[in-house]
Structures are given as structure tokens and as C-alpha cells.
């Protein structure tokens, strides 16, 4: 076993009773490099300063208490090795701060009730069945369906994904990654009888599933492989592909227009995106008044993008051109995906490690419980992984 080594922790401290601003506090601890940052903090607490506040219990990444930011990255303190943390530090000191997007109560302790749990409550977080009486036997459901939702059941409510959700930073009312994963746990559960209502609710909510901008931060943050963003994308695919929910946020049509644009041009056609998002593929739809309104609102952003060279006006207006053999290749991909009898979904519980080559060779499984919804080929959201907008 490796020898104990010195590590220095720089801990963000805040004492609400002092009236003072938060400050940094450094302690040098001595532990084997494979020990966790939490064990480091606990040693600092035990030896030097018992007043360091951090929630913790299991030390094994299952109770979800010790969500923090380490060198700016959200995660569990017990799930981050000291040597790993050292490698990602700026200056050889491991920096530990409270999670973001939630008010700090003391030191590393944040108010999860005020944000995280409120959002969980928002998604009606319990199973709804028609029959409230006690059955003699269990519901009979497909084997894969329960393995499938184990991925979202594996959420330990640590808040790491909430901490660094960019969409929530921009829109604090956004339902967010953890609550969305919780919602998928019911939407993907064949026993729940309110799947359409749940999806409709989250699609129509202006702070619902279409607020996510696919930044992948929550997938990186999650210590349990729940991949909250993937669950959000699955909610969208269920809402659009299975239930054809055309929402007032234009989320569904926006996704459809992405998919059809790529299909038509092989690359994004920015000038077409907005009209199609409002009017669909119909020619008249291009003149949808709402499209004009959004166009006007977006002009400052568009101007900025053009000035910074992020968008070329010519390509945006006329569309990017792909060589014809490449466009053919794109269309082939569409054909292959759309002709699958079932939609395939990534799920690590079934496919193995994310970085595992063997696992990646058999990357996908049929969407659980999807068969009975009769997903039609050719509908949007049929791509095997992520949203078409990715």
C-alpha cells in the first residue's frame, strides 16, 4: 500500500454568525494518495479544526451527503482521490468549495432544500398507478424496463449536477438535471399511468425540459453515472417521438427542424432553422409571425456573432454545402437509424463502462417499454444518443 503523503487543502470557509465574508483556510494533511478528499477534510477536522462544516456519512459515494466543488469541479468529496485532485489543482493546493446554484449555510454546507429538493418536489416525485389497493402480486413488466430505470434510480440526490448546471444559472427556475432524472424514473417506469401528463407538463413548462442547452456539465459532474442530460434527452424523445407533444415552447418543432435540416443539407442551415422551428417544413410556415418576433429579439445576438466571425452571413443565409457523396453518407445514417424497429438508448447499466471498448462495441439497447408506444420510424428524436440538436 502506498505511503502517506502530505497534501494541502484550501477550504472555503463561511461562518454565518460572524458577519464576515467567506474566506480561504489552508490545512496540510497526511494520507495515502488514494484516500479521498473527504478523508483529508475529516483529518483536518479531527486534528486541527473541528469547526469545518461538511455533511458526510457513508464515505463510499452512496449517501450523497458530501457534494462539493474540488478545484472548481462539482462532485463528491468521498469519491475524489487526493492524488487525482492534486493533478487538477492550479497551484499544488487542493481547493474545496461549496456547491454552486444553492445558498451556502456554513462552510461547505449548502441549502439543498431551497433549490434541489424544491425542484424534486416539482416533478410529482412518486409513482402514480390506477389501482391504489394492495395487489396480491407484483406488476408484470418487461425485464429490461427495470434495469433501464435503474440508471435514474441510481441518483443519490447529492446535487453535484445542480451545482454546475449552466441552464439553471441562467434560469434559476429551470427544473434542472436531478429533478429531470427523477422525472424519467417515472416516465420510463411502465407501471406509471401518468406518463403523458408528466411529459406534457415538463414540455409545456417554460422552465422545463427544453431549457437544457446540452452543455454536458451534469454528465461530467454525476458521480453515479446517472447522466442527467441523457435522461432529459430521453424525456424529450418520449415527449416528441412517442407522444407527439407539440409544446408552446416550440421545443418539439425546434428539434424536428434540426433533424430535418441536417437530413436535407447535411449541415446546419441557420437561416432556415428559425422559420422551420415555428412553421415546420411548410413553405407558409416560414412567415409565422412568432418567427419574426424571435428573429427581431435575436438580432443583437446574431449581429454579435457575425462581428466576432462566429457566423458567416453568406453561409448562414444560403446554407452550408456538403459534397454530394458526404450528403449521401449522411442520408444513409438517417436511413439506418430510422429503419430500426425500435429506438436504441444508451444505458450504462446495460452497456458497461463509458470508457470500456468492449462495452462501446455493443453500445445501445432498445428503449425500455418503448415497444408498446409504437415509435414510428422517421419521427424526430430517433438518433441513438443525445438530442439531434447536439
Amino acid at each position: 500500500m502506498a505511503e502517506a503523503t502530505e497534501f494541502t487543502l484550501r477550504i472555503r470557509r463561511y461562518d454565518p454568525e460572524s458577519g464576515e465574508a467567506p474566506y480561504w483556510d489552508e490545512h496540510t494533511i497526511e494520507l495515502e494518495p488514494h484516500r479521498s478528499v473527504l478523508e483529508g477534510i475529516l483529518q483536518a477536522k479531527a486534528r486541527f479544526d473541528g469547526s469545518i462544516g461538511i455533511r458526510c456519512s457513508c464515505k463510499a459515494a452512496i449517501c450523497g451527503s458530501c457534494g462539493v466543488r474540488i478545484n472548481g469541479q462539482p462532485g463528491l468529496a468521498c469519491h475524489t482521490h487526493l492524488d487525482h485532485a492534486l493533478r487538477s489543482s492550479r497551484d499544488g493546493v487542493i481547493e474545496v468549495e461549496p456547491m454552486g446554484n444553492m445558498p451556502v449555510i456554513k462552510d461547505l454546507i449548502v441549502d439543498m432544500d431551497a433549490v434541489h429538493w424544491k425542484k424534486i418536489q416539482r416533478v410529482t416525485p412518486w409513482l402514480i398507478t390506477d389501482d391504489e389497493s394492495m395487489p396480491e402480486r407484483e406488476h408484470i413488466v418487461p425485464r429490461e424496463s427495470m434495469v433501464d430505470i435503474t440508471q435514474s434510480m441510481a441518483c443519490i440526490q447529492c446535487g453535484a449536477c445542480v451545482s454546475d448546471c449552466l441552464s439553471m444559472e441562467a434560469d434559476p427556475l429551470f427544473v434542472g438535471p436531478a429533478a429531470s432524472a427523477k422525472a424519467y424514473r417515472f416516465v420510463g417506469d411502465p407501471r406509471d399511468t401518468q406518463q403523458y401528463q408528466r411529459l406534457k407538463d415538463l414540455a409545456e413548462d417554460p422552465h422545463g425540459i427544453y431549457t437544457c442547452t446540452h452543455c454536458f456539465k451534469c454528465i461530467d459532474a454525476c458521480p453515479k453515472g446517472v447522466a442527467p442530460m441523457s435522461q432529459i434527452m430521453r424525456l424529450r424523445r418520449r415527449a416528441t417521438g412517442d407522444h407527439h407533444i407539440v409544446d408552446r415552447n416550440n421545443g418539439e418543432r425546434h428539434e424536428v427542424s434540426f433533424v430535418t435540416l441536417i437530413k436535407d443539407y447535411g449541415l446546419l442551415h441557420e437561416a432556415e432553422l428559425l422559420p422551420r422551428s415555428f412553421g415546420g417544413n411548410s413553405w407558409f410556415g416560414k412567415f409565422h409571425p412568432a418567427a419574426g418576433q424571435v428573429l427581431l429579439q435575436s438580432l443583437p445576438v446574431i449581429t454579435k456573432a457575425v462581428l466576432r466571425g462566429k457566423v458567416s452571413p453568406k453561409l448562414a443565409l444560403l446554407g452550408h454545402k456538403l459534397p454530394s457523396q458526404d450528403l449521401k453518407a449522411v442520408k444513409k445514417i438517417y436511413e439506418k437509424v430510422e429503419n430500426r424497429p425500435e429506438r436504441l438508448e444508451l444505458n450504462l447499466y446495460i452497456t458497461g463502462y463509458d470508457e470500456d471498448d468492449e462495452g462501446a462495441a455493443t453500445p445501445a439497447v432498445a428503449a425500455a417499454g418503448n415497444g408498446q408506444h409504437g415509435a414510428e420510424p422517421g419521427q424526430p428524436g430517433q438518433s441513438p444518443e443525445g438530442s439531434p440538436t447536439r
Partner: protein, 564 residues
Amino acid sequence: MPAHDVLIIGAGLAGQRAALAAAEAGATVAIMSKVHPVRSHSVAAAGGINAAISLADDWRSHAYDTVKGSDFLGDQDAIEVMCSEAPKEVMHLEHIGVTFHRNESGELDLRAFGGASMKRTAYVADITGQAILHVLYEQLMKHGDKIDRYEEWFTTSLIVEDGACVGVVARDIRTGAMEIFTAKNVILASGGAGQCFKPTTNGLICTGDGIAQAYRAGAPLMDMEMIQYHPTTLVENGFLITEGARGEGAHLLNANGERFMEKYAPNKMELASRDVVSRAEQTEINEGRGVGPGGVGIYLDVTVVPKKRTLEALREIVNIGKDFAGVDITKEPIMIRPGQHYIMGGVKTDVDGRTPLEGLYAAGEVACVSVHGGNRLGANSLLDTLIFGRRAGEHAAARAAGMRMPSVSRAPLNDDAKMIESIIARPKGSGRRVSEIKDELGTTMNRYVAVFRDEQGLQTAHEVVRRLKEEAKTAYIDDRGTVFNQDVLGAIELGYMLDCAEAIVVAAIERKESRGAQFRTDYPERNDDEWLKHIDISRNGDDTPRISYSEVTFTQWQPEERKY
């Protein structure tokens, strides 16, 4: 001042199940926990929950396995209750939303577990405890109008007036405010005392609070000497590797690559009961056939389980292997050893969770019904928490219906507030640090009160515990604040742990035989003539444990030699 028909302390599986049952029975209910309910240690239960739900199974078979697993120390009336009600409870869980894994026909799948004569363990991958705990919390949120939740409130003592428990004193961890909670009934569901040992698979919150609170309030403890060492905990840091791994077919190997369990349990092999497997491992290690640096480990070989099965059903330990030991368990064996895991003993109760102290109930690991006797079978603990949590909730609700709300004086609150102030006021450097004492306690217990015990070691442990109790009186802390002063709570918890540890050691010294988890090298045989009885520990006024005995209840099964 909050007042409820039923006040539950602890919000793990037993507590949440009790709250839901009491609320359903029409009682006004509050549930209080020093952590958010989903942080409770039930979350760590991995492998599953036992119930004779297969058509080929019979609850009597489950009950017999449990009796045998307990080394005939379990009370058979209680075991019958637990095992016969198990299938209905599992169906209830399934119905409220637990995502139990299914077989190819879509029915609940069952896996093999230690000490069981057939596959009867329902599971959710290897996060069964987490799945059930989170689903129960979904139900608490659903019934939020009927159940008051006091999350992150720390119970400092039980209030006893005229021989009955009538409430608790508690501290709001977030603000430091102290409050009296009046209750017609208090149900302790605050879990075990694993932190008395170091290392342990138990979370930092498992500090025996309820066991000590009940003991101090005058309720007797039972079977405290029975400490379970789990056969598969990670050598690196003591983390739990689920018995589900062996249930799915994993092997145990010594340094010679032998499946040594064939020497100790030729029929059940790796799936003998936990006390048997842990002793076998420790024997291999002690006799020089251990693996790894210092030969302190045993190999758990999961590679014999099909990879696809491992990834869907044992994913948590795949992660633990990868993250905490740097081992891919689908490709190579992982080093494990026996580690402290569970306490079979606890606050003595009947099958309705009632303790001998009126108005006080207990359920789950804090309690001793006794369904586990000398050794608990894997996947019986979740069952225990749910069955007896529910029964306690129902019984307490019924009792509340026929009585008036007791009136409680504020004196206990003032006492506890003073106690906390005095801890905070202890000058730095006046004695030892609380953390040092806790460390010494854990190391001592794990050295002398482990898989193999003897008189001399136990006496040494007792002396250390008595000394630490003295030292704890002057131990100092750093935090002087009121908001989230975890330091002062740690000092109170240390007191709880020391009470539990003393009861454990005293009972282990008393039982001069080997039965279940108690193996005395100086008394290596089971002795039914003298020791087929429970050891009860109650507190004398002068803070020394008093020993008495109670009978083991037999219904259908007479003691026999125990072989696996």
C-alpha cells in the same frame, strides 16, 4: 411546542416505514432525523430483501433458515412474524414504486444469498437499500400533509415522566435552537452503532444514538455481544462489497488459489452464513494463507460471473472496485476481508416494537426483537426494518388513539441546553480531543471485540472503554457556534458510542461460549445447556451495566448442530 401522536426518531427504512404506517392508521406523525432522510444508512444496504414469494418457496423455510442463521438464539415467534409477513411487504414496496428487477417473465427476480436454502432475495441491482429508501421518501413527500418532517434535527434525549416516554429534546442543527417534542409514543429508528468500530462498513452517522438514549432512559438492551463482521469488505478502506456478489456466483480464494470454503462449509460454500464465512476467512488469514501486502486479505473473484450480469446487477461494486481499489472486478479478483457491519443486538422489543418502557418503541437496527439472534442472514435486515417499522407504527398509532397528549415540563430542555453549553465551554487543551477518543475506541473494539475474542482481550477492551468514558467528560471541541455545530454533536455522539461499546463488551465477557457472531477462543463450543438465553443489559443508576437474562422463544424448531 410540537406535539404528535407518534414521533419517530430516525428516517431510514424503519423510521420512514413506521411514519407511513402510523399516518395511514390516522395518527398525527412527525419524523425526525439528524440527517436528511435519504442520507440514512439504510441507503448502503446493497444486496436485497428476503421474502418467500416464489411459488416453490414457503415462509417456514425462510424462518428455519433464519433460526439456523441465528444459531438458535433468535426468538422464533418474532422470526415467524417477520418471515410470514415478508411476501406481503415486498408486494407493498413493489406497488408503491420500488423498481425491483424482473425475470424474463416480468415477475420479481430472486437471487441467492447467504444461509438461504433457496433463491429468495428480491433486489434492485446492488442498490436495493437505496432504491427502497428513496421510494419511501417519495411516499413521505406524497404524504407531506400528514407527516411532519424534522430533517437535520438532533435528538439529545428521551423524556421520561412517571415511567413513560412522553417525548424528546432535540436541537435544530441548522440554527442551534433547542425544542421539546411532546409525543404520546416515541419510536426509535435511529440505526446501529457501527462507529464504535474502526474500520466499519457503517456511515459516520451510525453512532448508536438510539441504543444509548433508550439505555439511559431505562430500557434494557439485548444480544449486544452479537456483532456481525461482514465477510467481504474492501481491504483498502473497509467499504462493503455486497453479498450479492457471492449470490451471483463469485468465489473466495486464498493465497494458494483454493476455494477454501469447501473446508468450512462444503455444502453452501461461499453462501454459508456470514459468521461462518468471516471466521473461515480470518482463519485462513491467521494461518498465513491471506493475500496481498501483509497477507491480510482474501480474494473475491467476481470474474466467474458473466460480465453482462455483473454490469447490470453488481454495478455499484464495479464502481467501488474501479474508484476505490483500482480494480476492474470483471477482469481480476478484488481483495477483501471481514469487517464490522451490523449489530444484532439493540433495544429489547416485542413483535410490535414495544420496549419495556411504556410509550417507547424501537425498530430496525437500533432494536433487538430478536429476529437475528447470534447472526443475521444477509438481506434479512431490510426486511426487519420494514416489517417491524410498520408494526411499530401501527401499534403506536392504535395506542395513541386511546390516550391524551401528555404534558411535559421544560426541565429536560434546560438540562440538555446546559449540557451542550458546558461541552462548548470546555477550554481547549484541557483534555483530549473528541476525535482522538473516538479513534482509540474504534481501534480497540476492532482489535479485541472482533471475529475471534477471548477473556483477556475483552477485559482489556473494557478497561479502555471505562477510561475513555472518563476522558470523554473533559474532551474538548473547537466549534463555538450555533449554526451546524457538528463538533458539539460529535461530542454527544461519542457519549452514545461509549455507552454502546460498554454494553457490547460487558455482554461479550458474560457469554462464555461460542455462538453465532460471538466466537470465544477460550470457550470454542456452543453450550446450549448454559447459554441458550439472551443477555440483557440495563443501566444501573451509577452508570454501570447490569446483566440479566431472558428466555429464547421456541415455536417449531429445536436447537441442532449447525452445518452449512
